[in-house]
Symmetry: C5
Subunit: 337 residues, 5 copies
Amino acid sequence: MDIFVYRPGSEKVEEGFTAEQLPELLKDETLTIWVDMDKPTEADDQILLDVFRFHPLTVEDCRADRHHPKVEEFPGYLYFILHGVTANTDSVHFNTIEFDGFLGPNYVLTYHHDMFRSINNVKQMIRTSPISCQRGPAYLLYQILDQLVDFYMPVLDDFDERLVQIEDEIFSLTNPDKTIIERIQHMKRSILRLRRISGKQLNILYRISHGEFKLISPEMLPFFRDIHDHLIRITDLAENYRDLIGGALDSYLSVVSNRTNDIMKVLTIFSAVMLPLTFIAGLYGMNFDNLPELHYEYSYFIVLGVMILVAVGMLGFFWRRGWIGNARVTNEGETKG
Amino acid sequence: MDIFVYRPGSEKVEEGFTAEQLPELLKDETLTIWVDMDKPTEADDQILLDVFRFHPLTVEDCRADRHHPKVEEFPGYLYFILHGVTANTDSVHFNTIEFDGFLGPNYVLTYHHDMFRSINNVKQMIRTSPISCQRGPAYLLYQILDQLVDFYMPVLDDFDERLVQIEDEIFSLTNPDKTIIERIQHMKRSILRLRRISGKQLNILYRISHGEFKLISPEMLPFFRDIHDHLIRITDLAENYRDLIGGALDSYLSVVSNRTNDIMKVLTIFSAVMLPLTFIAGLYGMNFDNLPELHYEYSYFIVLGVMILVAVGMLGFFWRRGWIGNARVTNEGETKG
Amino acid sequence: MDIFVYRPGSEKVEEGFTAEQLPELLKDETLTIWVDMDKPTEADDQILLDVFRFHPLTVEDCRADRHHPKVEEFPGYLYFILHGVTANTDSVHFNTIEFDGFLGPNYVLTYHHDMFRSINNVKQMIRTSPISCQRGPAYLLYQILDQLVDFYMPVLDDFDERLVQIEDEIFSLTNPDKTIIERIQHMKRSILRLRRISGKQLNILYRISHGEFKLISPEMLPFFRDIHDHLIRITDLAENYRDLIGGALDSYLSVVSNRTNDIMKVLTIFSAVMLPLTFIAGLYGMNFDNLPELHYEYSYFIVLGVMILVAVGMLGFFWRRGWIGNARVTNEGETKG
Amino acid sequence: MDIFVYRPGSEKVEEGFTAEQLPELLKDETLTIWVDMDKPTEADDQILLDVFRFHPLTVEDCRADRHHPKVEEFPGYLYFILHGVTANTDSVHFNTIEFDGFLGPNYVLTYHHDMFRSINNVKQMIRTSPISCQRGPAYLLYQILDQLVDFYMPVLDDFDERLVQIEDEIFSLTNPDKTIIERIQHMKRSILRLRRISGKQLNILYRISHGEFKLISPEMLPFFRDIHDHLIRITDLAENYRDLIGGALDSYLSVVSNRTNDIMKVLTIFSAVMLPLTFIAGLYGMNFDNLPELHYEYSYFIVLGVMILVAVGMLGFFWRRGWIGNARVTNEGETKG
Amino acid sequence: MDIFVYRPGSEKVEEGFTAEQLPELLKDETLTIWVDMDKPTEADDQILLDVFRFHPLTVEDCRADRHHPKVEEFPGYLYFILHGVTANTDSVHFNTIEFDGFLGPNYVLTYHHDMFRSINNVKQMIRTSPISCQRGPAYLLYQILDQLVDFYMPVLDDFDERLVQIEDEIFSLTNPDKTIIERIQHMKRSILRLRRISGKQLNILYRISHGEFKLISPEMLPFFRDIHDHLIRITDLAENYRDLIGGALDSYLSVVSNRTNDIMKVLTIFSAVMLPLTFIAGLYGMNFDNLPELHYEYSYFIVLGVMILVAVGMLGFFWRRGWIGNARVTNEGETKG
């Protein structure tokens, strides 16, 4: 448990307080206090109940880690759950971690079971300069949320990149990788989760930035509106990618259908050319005693000529149908010529 | 019919009352009474009408068992229908059972034709300790609902597990089980029902937890809000699984198309290599008197050479097209070589 | 035109009045009057205008028979259009008939061009006992609507049954009936109409049961709420079936794709085994003077051996790919062995 | 520019006024004036600005002809744009033409670049009888809108007919016409436009019929509500047809898949029966010196017998699989027998 | 940075002011000032903060260029972000550029990193005539927005054209270009972005044109309502094209399926005719000592006859099935005849 305290006018944010000093600190309404509980113990939970006097159900919510983002107002404090992306999140494996926060008149309390990059960044910031604390706890909270939301952007960029890459693979002429459907389905799963979470967080920020909660003063609202705007952008992009992922699968199906079509054409052309020739050859391979053509001097050459005519006729027939001679299919014709 | 009565200050919840004592008990407003009607008889229905004076349509609703979840306010009591999952419910066979409840100023009445695990659990709890009853009937109701909602979670976990398993089957290289579509369709049916029911129950809890009903005092609201949060999570997951199930079917179709494509390639390669060779063989099997090539000494070996050239040419043609030599398709080429 | 009149306190509902007596009857506000116009004539329409003084556009609406369900309030009366299912309706051929109704302070007027089973049932009821009339015209109306809505249930059950049957057909191993797509499309058409109509009727009952109209007194509301609940269930099921019908078509496509796949495998296996063998046979059918293998004593048997090796090799190749030997496909392998 | 003037009490609607008389006529508030501008000139536009004093942007909107239906209230007049169907519109080629209208306290002004059937009809009506004008300009407007909306119905009937016809084609056993997809896509395009336009017009009529505009007196509302009802029906049907058109394409795909399946079966059966026979024939066409079977007396007949056995076995194998012998597929079996 | 100043009564808009003169100019409330910052420097940003006293977050928003369209009211000024299409935008590559604007009581400030055609046009206009400035800054803003929205129309026309062209390609009988799916997917991407952006801009204009902001006086509203109408049309068309693009892909799939079907038919007809003939030829190519048919005088001619019979029978069989002889398929039959 890290406790940061900023005394108005002071030039540094003080650190290194213990839990025992908390009740004393909280009484001083001029301070800006940040309590960060990283991997909290049962003793920490007890502090929430005894020192901060949070509602028992809230503390239970903190302890368990399977909640959706939400914000709730209680007398004297705001309680909210937010989700940040994990460091190893990408568009194929989308994971979020939960952080529970409390905003009181003179304190911010953050509670999380996993390392949070955004919280670490803000700690770094206030250790360097007390600016983040000078405008009170709501501004401190804004700093944390701003960082948290910023970490979503690289994930969205990753979606964009992979989508372009997947589409390129699908439309490229060589065989698309067989795992493409699997990757698409995974991205779909990720984007669905991202959309749900960012939709919920958008709603929270909407409520905050429209002044629903008294604890956040009007001059703080533009800052939260700024985060709200970021979230709109994220939700928008998520919507967009979802539609495009759906489209990618459709495209894949169409491309595969097209290929099957091409393969069938090759097969049909081969069969249609070869089967009649083989039949003619078979015809004069028969052993009838009386098969007059066998005994004419030029029969063989006439038959060869007929075969060539048949082959050329077939190819011409398919060429007229447009099966041979177009762009990629040309080489087939050449091979057989 | 089980009747539980808690007298304020007492250390145990009393049991074993009979229907005849009910009118007397109900008059004492300080008590917390729970009447549980399991597989109720016509006599029980009469009690609802005569002792509790519930609206006749309500009692009719109790008797029949084909209703959706709802809550209705009547003068002096709240009437609600909720659905719990049956013990044998899983993601393929989703079944719910109905329970009708009444909340009065000093009583909770539960009415159900089937065994309810959540109700049994709460009975167990109040037999062990009277805590659940000490905060009045609304809190007792919260205990029951909380249990009821908790039993949905294993079903949702089962959905998640099976979905992952189905996707694994689809994307695995070996033949996907033919029953996969059937299982997907069954899961879709289940998830649709789950979504509808949890959506309705969410709406009920929303109304309760936002203080719409006078019978539930403000200090009880956070508890119902807690259940509301659980239901949001359930509805959310249901939405999610529905989308993913839809995606699974699409993926399946794509994988099957892909396979057909692969099969066609094998067929086409075989035909394209073998048909010309067979034709050449047929050509020199003809019985013409004058077929000069037959009589040259090295004809046979030259023809063999031509055949090998044709075969190699064909394989080369398909290799250039990318049909042979990629990952899984390589072995085809090897087999023919 | 049938006229039923109930005088408060009387033990029977009187019948057999003529149109001429109507103005007189309507003046007595203590009566409960039901006028049922079955296949109304122009004279009847005139009565609506002259005796009841309904708005001319309303009477026009009655005459024409192409309207959607609606309810409209006019000074002194309520006008509504509702749809009942025809007796021969099932899930493949969904038909509804329209009935126009008016509710006044002391009368109900029903107007329909076709026989209505629900109206006939209510007539039967009030001929047996006056109970349905004792609570005034709104309760009489409730009786009619309740019957009307009840007749939707067998249609919905029919949907359920046929859907299960269609899915069984699709997933059964034998050839699905070719008419299945047609039946699915017909059911889709039916369910779309059912959903639209029940959605509209739901909306009407919602407005009635929430007390929007003064002519229906508060103590009548629970009755209409009951019908409202029935309609929610119907609309819900309709939604559900629509989703499942959509899923059925997708399943069908997947199953057909799967079958095509299987057929292709059989074809490919046959071709891949037979074509090389035929080629080898053709090879030694050539008539070259110098074809040394022809003259070795054991050539034939060696060639036979090679053929068996090739066949076994091919089958092994496909077995390794999983095309032979799985569940249903096994028999193919056996046949060829 | 046609000007119609009805003086209250008069028995005929007067015609043949010129633009110069307009300012005078408009001053008389007891008149009902209808100004119809068909293919208006620049001079006409100037009248709108100078005599009627309409907002310049409104007059610009009239001149241009690419707007969606809308209604706008200006001080002293209502401005609206509505779309009527052209005379040659059907479900494949859906075209609408725009008409701009103004409703003032004592006048209706209609402005359109194309011939409007509904406006012509109303002109015909008022030339025959002044009834349409006796209730003031709002009633005159109602007459025009009523006609305009009525002309949508035949288009919707055409949709219904063609849809049934397309479905019949799809499900009929003979080859569906190849242009079917094109027709479906065209109808989709039409229905999308129809739905959008009727949705917008519905919204306009909703606002009018709910008394939003002062210029339309309460006793006129039921008339506009009547048009509103018609539009609900149109929008409803449009929704319905859109769903059904979507379903038609799905059905088409399924039917085509099914046919491909059938074709594949025929091909596979032929290949599976013929390839082994050809191989056997080839086997005994080999020219080995030592091929003992060739010299037995009954070899030929035994081989013929084996061939028949193989053929029968193959057919039996496919019959057991259900590929031969079902309804339509039977004839294949017969042909080969 | 270009500064335009219009003094009321003056006949020309003055130009060529420097940043230093700005504070002086802004004080004079009778002026209409337009400050256009094209590719602004850091010094320009500082002016926004120091001279105009805009909120720091707003200025940050200006600097960064990844925002969605929005409008925000601050004390004394309106801030908005709008997107214009780039000059090279078409339906396949849809790009927008951002412009930030501020509207104050006597000034308009536009801020953009890229050349804006609409802004250039307005500059051209006010250099020619001061009319655009005479009605104050809100009217000047209307001019800019009007231009900006007008530049969307050619893009929408391009969508329409390409869609028609793509559909023509799909339905034309010759091979559809393989890149069609790629183009469709690109257009889908474009239309999704267009729809989102125009949806957002529609919302902004809705708020402006409904008088939400004090800085825009009521007599300006019809002008902004005009832009609002344009945006409705754009959003509408975007919706429409999105649906049609989705339909195009479905059509493509259907057409490809159809073609595969046709190809399969050709293959099957060829195989079914040729395989039996080849088999018969093979039969009499066998070398059995005792093969009596070989020695009859007319055997050869009888066998030829049988072959013709088989071929004709097969063709007849397929003709009866409707595979030969319909429209396009006729030529196949002819070729083989």
